[in-house]
Amino acid sequence: MTNKAIIVEKLSKTFNGFKAVDEISFEVGRGEIFGFLGANGAGKTTAMKMLCGLSMPSSGKATVAGFDIYQENESIKKNIGYMSQKFSLYEDLTIRENIRFYAGIYGIRPDIIKTKTVQLLTQLSLEKEADQLVGQLPLGWKQKLAFSVAIFHDPQIVFLDEPTGGVDPITRRDFWNMIYDATAKGITVFVTTHYMDEAEYCDRVSIMVDGQIDALDTPGNLKRLYQAESMDQVFLQIARKAKRTE
């Protein structure tokens, strides 16, 4: 066991000669909150898919949660959690059914699912709504629930793809509170966002431009390096270098 949750070395993915991801290298420490930023079309989604074991790289090396992404992608899937803004829970299942469904997929024992479901519903104060369809919940609640479901099986790493898009400012902050709680339990967080204030909440941030990682450091160091007052300014300086028209 190393103290690295993710190790990536010269990872690339080429589609018909187009280098969507171009030799990226980085490491993410255990329990770290790692912000994975970049403009639309910079290659974030492609990179994330490879790390989640959903897409085979064209070249390069990577281990996620200690597993090789070529040989052990099924083990990776068991040891990570994933949620995104676009897809998280089944709208036409109830809250309880969604929890049971996801927990079942990860092979958690029924008696454990039962106890943990009660705990989770209490934590989120959703006891009364447990048998309501998820589609009827306000977005903010849905996202908080989706995050809890994504870490229900105590994964080593959770991948969050724009988890707070469109969420109100108070719930957005509640959501980050939940992220901090997860890291306190030792879960590593890999997150993308378009809110630059949220980049400040990450331990370290990488910014992708045209398939490559153009900057990687703590928010404080990046601001010093780019002589910027905010991460928003850092991002604009870096992302404007992009030549690719997505």
């Binding site: 970049g38 403009a39 639309n40 079309g41 803004q85 309501q132 369809l133 589609g135 009827q136 306000p138 977005l139 903010g140 724009e162 898009g165 469109g166 969420v167 109100d168 400012p169 108070i170 719930t171 902050r173 980050w176 901090y180 378009h194 809110y195 630059m196 204030d197 949220e198 400040e200 909440y201 928010p219 905010s230 991460m231 928003d232 991002f235 604009l236 992302a239 404007r240 992009a242 028209t245 997505e246």
Partner: protein, 307 residues
Amino acid sequence: MEKYHSEQASIVVSSVSKSYTSGKTVVKALDNISFEVEKGSLFGLIGPDGAGKTTLFRILTSLLLFDKGKALVDGFDVISGYKEIRKRIGYMPGRFSLYADLTVQENLNFFASIFETTIDENYDLIKGIYAQIEPFKNRRAGKLSGGMKQKLALSCALIHRPSVLFLDEPTTGVDAVSRKEFWDMLKGLKNEGITILVSTPYMDEANLCDKVALIQSGSILNIDTPHNITHTFSKTIYRIKGRDMQALLLQARQWDFAEQVYPFGEYHHAVIRQQSTELHFPEGVEASRIHPGIEDVFIDLMRNHDQ
């Protein structure tokens, strides 16, 4: 067709309500909403998903009936004058709704012909936007990237030179650079005299509008210019910073002079209790008074609204 004369207002919404039933529960999507949008102005509806923004857009574009109230667009009632309204407005829905299996140019031609016009006739209006995707005019719309889809959708919404443009969350999920570009395009359209109603969940975009309505759970929390909204906010806000931000947050929430403390990027913002006269920040905490931003006001209004 009866036309209402309004010198300044391009959109008039008065006491509009709309409820849905979802299962056994009744959801108030819009609760007695009223506002006006001045001709030629850029008006922003700022609020999170589920606030009722899309419902309002669908009502104003004559696609949805409502329970109570009255709404006028460009002088026409949205119910009795829907045929006139549909000729005069451009609408870009939040979800990409062009034909994925038609090419870029075919989509644009299609929308031009529906409005009995041609691309050439109004090319000058869309040129700045369309020129950026014209190199890909033979590509199917479904194969475009997010940013290019957005530019095509905007071109299609403008091809008949509408007097009022409705843009439902055009920048959601869009990166900071493209968002800036998009707002620059809107400024250009405003200068052409087009009235624009735009919705966004990004609080920082409020400052780019002439006037904004802050909306949450079907109600308008505040309507004014962004400048007035932040300058008439009566509470004092300090930004604070310490070595361990997470610990500082928990600690600051115990301060008796702080009404609210919440993370705000690099800093935390502390809303000071109105009666507090002396503020004692602990050693090692860097604190300075700041002008509140739209997001601070929104958070405060939301808390008071919920109570």
